[in-house]
């Protein structure tokens, strides 16, 4: 327990322009600080090298959600609680809502943000597998301008991101899976969605394995499938080879499922650490795939 405040500096701009200007002037010097649910933990534990923080919570451009025919776009400062309550997200992007509901605790969900979860770049984060399944894109903003990157290409290695020192994650864009009619739900187009987080307890736990999957079924066959996992590699991973194999299969026979599980094992690289073992994680990842596929054909 700490008796006093840890030593760090924090400034709070209220205009996006000021924040970007500061990042441009002293790139890499200022660590963006949003809901604080990750950074406060590290700060208080004395595990953070950074001493200077840029509080972006007041930047209203980074809050809010927007819907068009093609996309749902979320401000980077959208909280897990906001995600869970959003009707369009519940209907069209249910995995993201489920991930938000099992992240931390209620109080964490009230403050923690999607953008923060992405920027923290933990391979064990709960919402990124859902973002990967939904082909999310990120808007990165700097004084030099804005650019969009595919989230699947954003994490370059353990805690390595395609994010320049002067850039902020501004928005997260989720492409809608079909032209939207009122009341549209992917389920009515044959989409089956599955999310599972395996941890030590249900609140506050960091995942041992986290699995997000969506499969579009047509006449008992997989028309489209997306699979992403957390906690099984240096970054969250989308399992393209497993997806490709499953898309090509005529029928989901037990042999096909087993083959898919073998391919999956080759696409992940889990490690032993204090939360779990590589062997357990690989086996559980395969079992979750089995459960997902089993529930999709049922």
């Amino acid at each position: 327990m700490r008796a006093y405040l840890p030593q760090f500096e924090l400034i709070t701009p209220t205009a996006l322009e000021d924040a970007l200007k500061l990042l441009a002037r002293e790139p890499g010097q200022w660590e963006p600080f949003a809901g604080g649910t990750d950074l406060m933990v590290l700060l208080e534990a004395g595990k953070l090298a950074h001493q200077r923080f840029l509080n972006i919570w007041r930047l209203k451009e980074l809050h809010g959600m927007e819907e068009t025919r093609e996309n749902v776009t979320l401000g980077a400062l959208t909280t897990y609680t906001e995600v869970q309550k959003h009707e369009t997200l519940q209907r069209e992007f249910p995995l993201l809502c489920r991930a938000a509901a099992v992240t931390g605790s209620v109080a964490t969900q009230n403050r923690g943000t999607l953008g923060g979860n992405i920027a923290n770049a933990s391979p064990a984060a709960d919402s990124p597998p859902a973002l990967l399944v939904y082909d999310a894109e990120l808007e990165l903003l700097s004084a030099r301008g804005a650019r969009w990157v595919r989230y699947a290409q954003f994490h370059k290695g353990y805690k390595q991101m395609d994010l320049a020192p002067d850039e902020l994650i501004a928005r997260i864009r989720l492409p809608r899976r079909a032209n939207v009619a009122p009341g549209f739900s992917p389920a009515s187009w044959g989409w089956h969605e599955y999310y599972s987080k395996v941890g030590t307890r249900s609140a506050q736990a960091i995942s041992k394995v986290c699995f997000a999957g969506a499969a579009q079924m047509a006449n008992g066959r997989i028309a489209d499938i997306r699979i992403a996992l957390g906690s099984v590699a240096p970054t969250v991973v989308r399992c393209a080879k497993t997806e490709e194999f499953l898309r090509a299969e005529e029928k989901l026979t037990p042999a096909a499922v087993q083959k898919a599980q073998e391919i999956l094992a080759g696409e992940i690289a889990p490690i032993d650490d204090f939360r779990s073992t590589a062997r357990y994680r690989r086996r559980v990842a395969q079992n979750l795939l089995g459960e997902f596929l089993g529930s999709a054909v049922r």
């Binding site: 327990m1 700490r2 008796a3 006093y4 405040l5 840890p6 030593q7 760090f8 500096e9 924090l10 400034i11 709070t12 701009p13 209220t14 205009a15 322009e17 000021d18 200007k21 500061l22 002037r25 002293e26 010097q29 809901g35 604080g36 649910t37 406060m40 933990v41 208080e44 534990a45 004395g46 001493q51 200077r52 923080f53 509080n55 919570w57 007041r58 609680t81 931390g104 605790s105 209620v106 109080a107 964490t108 009230n110 403050r111 307890r201 249900s202 609140a203 506050q204």
Partner: protein, 209 residues
């Protein structure tokens, strides 16, 4: 961590303290200069607060408080050290145990993980503001009568998390109550009593008590 700072007091700002401590001086001065530069270039409307003390206004338990804090001060430290509201406890100080739970605009928040400066313009409710002086809120009463505490140190956090939950979900099942309070820890292990208290409190609050 080797670096520890003195509790913030009037007359000894953190900057002044840093300037007298050698090693940390250069970092402090450079960033200060950067912030001042930014401030100078900002329009009056677009203010950058910090890193030095800034005046803030907090609405706590229906009262307005004006105070000066550095932007890095947490809501918990502001409540406990500045406003003498020590009901919210400082235990893990890293968003894990829930003893510092307060309501911010009606939602449960860990005061240790929120900056005081970001709590401005919000209605903050601490355990002290839950019921008038000398009275017990139905939730507190339910905790007492259901033996929902042993040492009691975690209790204010549990009560506030319970309040945030019941205000929105007046008819919880035991499983829902368990999930809602998943972010609060009790090392004495009084969870069974706590869950009973939540259900009892829900019944009491519906009765208008």
């Amino acid at each position: 961590m080797s670096k520890r700072k003195l509790p913030t007091q009037k007359g000894l700002s953190r900057r002044a303290f840093l300037k007298t401590t050698g090693a940390a001086v250069s970092a402090g001065v450079v960033s200060g200069a950067a912030a001042e530069l930014l401030n100078a270039q900002s329009t009056a409307k677009n203010k950058v607060a910090g890193p030095g003390e800034v005046p803030i206004t907090l609405r706590v338990n229906g009262e307005t408080h004006n105070l000066n804090v550095e932007p890095r001060v947490t809501l918990l430290d502001a409540l406990r050290d500045r406003l003498d509201l020590t009901g919210a406890k400082k235990v893990c100080d890293r968003g894990t145990c829930g003893t510092c739970t307060v309501l911010v605009d009606g939602k449960a928040a860990y005061a240790c993980s929120m900056l005081a400066i970001d709590a401005q313009g919000r209605e903050i409710l601490t355990i002290e503001g839950l019921a008038p002086e000398g009275e017990l809120h139905p939730i507190s009463a339910a905790f007492v009568e259901n033996d929902a505490q042993q040492c009691g140190f975690c209790t204010p956090g549990f009560v506030m998390a319970c309040k945030a939950y019941l205000d929105r979900n007046p008819n919880p099942t035991e499983a829902q109550a368990k999930k809602a309070l998943g972010g609060n820890l009790c090392r004495c292990g009084t969870y069974i009593g706590v869950r009973a208290a939540v259900l009892d409190a829900a019944a009491r609050m519906k009765g208008g008590r």
